[in-house]
């Protein structure tokens, strides 16, 4: 008797490899599933809980006071189905982006200078404290008087509110960096500029990730408040109109759009920046 042999040894090896890979996947599937559940489960549960509470409040107080999540979703879709909705969202996003870029340049630049120059830091410290203590509403009123209800007034307000935060964050990042690494580089003959570029800046940027996140969230809040007060086109102005018309659905839709805009920017800009600049900190933690 002769045992039946596969006609081609190559095919037999390939099928063995495929079955081994399949077995590997079967073994790994429960582990991957539990990891996915652990990663996405708790946030989904939190979101579901929030929506359930919202729905319960809607049932308790009625649609005139608090529309249901579904009604709000429909209002969001309605707002985005016309160009004006996109324009309002785009205007707010553009103002926040422009103002944050400005405050990063000015606040971050001055923060770098102050971090390295003790006298400059001591001189500017009271100014930073005063600016940090100024309420955002006060700036909205002042800029309305100075510039009138304009695009520039809103950008200025966001920049002046977030600038001191970026300044303080940058100063702190400069002061708390590990200077011993720069000493190491100096021992190999690295110039001051090279040490700054290759070592100090790397640590400073890593510390600035959370500060950018906070500034972004604050920038959005200030933008909407300023738009609401100045009635310049944007999500804030749409909210002002919704309030005037007592359109609670549209008011909540604008809130949802603002939150969505914030989340989108955070995930498209801030998070990638954080993981690029400070990913190594998570490894060392």
């Amino acid at each position: 008797m002769t045992a039946s042999m596969p006609s081609d040894p190559g095919i037999s090896r390939a099928s063995a490899r495929i079955s081994a890979r399949l077995a590997e996947w079967v073994d790994m599937a429960p582990i991957l599933a539990s990891r996915t559940a652990l990663r996405f489960g708790p946030p989904m549960l939190g979101l579901a809980l929030f929506l359930a509470l919202w729905q319960a409040a809607h049932l308790r107080y009625g649609g005139f006071i608090l529309p249901s999540p579904l009604q709000t979703g429909a209002a969001v879709l309605a707002a985005l189905s016309i160009g004006a909705g996109w324009a309002a969202l785009g205007a707010t996003l553009a103002r926040v982006a422009l103002a944050l870029a400005l405050s990063a340049m000015i606040g971050g630049g001055l923060g770098l200078l102050a971090g390295y120059a003790t006298l400059f830091r001591a001189t500017i410290a009271p100014v930073a404290t005063i600016l940090l203590g100024m309420p955002a509403t006060a700036w909205v009123i002042l800029t309305m008087i100075w510039f009138g209800p304009s695009h520039g007034a809103i950008v200025f307000t966001i920049a002046i509110v977030t600038g001191p935060i970026l300044y303080i964050g940058t100063v702190d990042a400069v002061l708390t960096r590990d200077k011993r690494l720069e000493e190491m580089a100096a021992s190999f003959g690295a110039s001051w500029l090279t040490r700054f570029r290759t070592i100090a800046l790397r640590q400073i940027m890593a510390s600035l990730g959370p500060v950018f996140g906070i500034s972004l969230a604050l920038g959005f809040k200030v933008a909407i408040m300023a738009e609401l007060v100045t009635n310049v086109a944007g999500l804030g102005a749409s909210m002002a109109r919704a309030r005037a018309h007592m359109d609670i659905d549209m008011a909540l839709a604008n809130v949802a759009l603002a939150v969505a805009g914030l989340v989108i920017i955070e995930h498209l800009v801030i998070r990638p920046f954080q993981s690029r600049a400070s990913g190594w900190k998570r490894i060392t933690a």
Binding site: M184, A186, S187, F188, R202, G279, W280, I283
Partner: protein, 262 residues
């Protein structure tokens, strides 16, 4: 051949004198251990020798082309792999990518680092491996003089001994001179041609002790006997008996008068 002369070096921080006219000559090819109690200014002297600090007074004469430096706690860049850490000083000198790779590989090989270790981040390496990476980084620049600033102080005794063996074999193979800062007399006796003893208040080098034979060729018995004898030497009484908490702070300025500054 490589040597170093530190002539009448004085240095202070914020009006507080750390080093006061310290002079030390390291002859070509000589590995000198610098010992002294904590806080006597050994690391400040190493930083001055390594070009990190400029002394307030004094001269430094370097009779070598390049030096490498190995620090306490390794000082590896936490965002870079072991390979990139070793290559870091090479990237400062405008070398081509091929040269950097070749030198990095050679330095890693010299300290017995495996290629899989080179892909790891510093936090993924053990204390001994981090020390190896730090030594490889110093070797990558092909130095003819090496400065060690208590590089193995944080390692356990067995690992410290392995690292000492590594330094001994590298010194013998490459013939570099150097300065080895330590407060461990046994380590100093094992590694160096000569042990220079620093004053506890940084007021110069008190004197030198020379262990028998040459580093790497001393037996354990010779080292033990030398250390036991040295412990009785008045030169080392501060190193062995001083309590740094009981040390008076020497200040360069008037601490009581109108212009007090410390």
């Amino acid at each position: 051949m490589s040597g170093l002369t530190l002539a009448t070096i004085s240095h202070g921080f914020g009006g507080r004198a750390i080093l006061d006219t310290v002079s030390l000559v390291i002859r070509p090819g000589e590995l000198v251990a610098l010992v002294g109690p904590s806080g006597c200014g050994k690391s400040t002297l190493a930083a001055i020798a390594g070009g990190i600090l400029k002394p307030d007074q004094g001269r430094i004469l370097r009779h070598y082309k390049r030096h490498g430096m190995v620090f306490q706690q390794s000082r590896l860049l936490p965002w870079a792999t072991a390979r990139d850490n070793i290559a870091y000083p090479l990237t400062l000198g405008g070398m081509t990518g091929t040269q950097v790779i070749a030198r990095t590989e050679a330095a890693a090989q010299a300290v017995a680092l495996l290629s899989e270790d080179l892909m790891k981040m510093p936090e993924q390496l053990s204390g001994g491996m981090r020390a190896r990476v730090a030594i490889a980084r110093a070797l990558a620049v092909e130095p003819d003089f090496l400065i060690f600033d208590e590089p193995f102080a944080a390692l356990d005794p067995a690992l410290r001994r392995r690292m000492q063996d590594l330094v001994l074999s590298l010194a013998e193979a490459r013939g570099f001179g150097g300065m080895f800062i330590t407060h461990d007399l046994h380590e100093a006796a094992r590694l160096s041609h000569r042990i220079a003893v620093m004053d506890r208040q940084g007021k110069g080098i008190l004197g030198s002790l020379t262990p028998p034979d040459t580093p790497g060729h001393r037996s354990e018995a010779q080292i033990f006997e030398f250390v036991e004898a040295a412990r009785q030497d008045p030169l080392l009484s501060d190193l062995i008996h001083v309590d740094e908490r009981a040390m008076s702070v020497h200040c360069a300025c008037d601490t009581l008068g109108f212009r007090r500054c410390c």
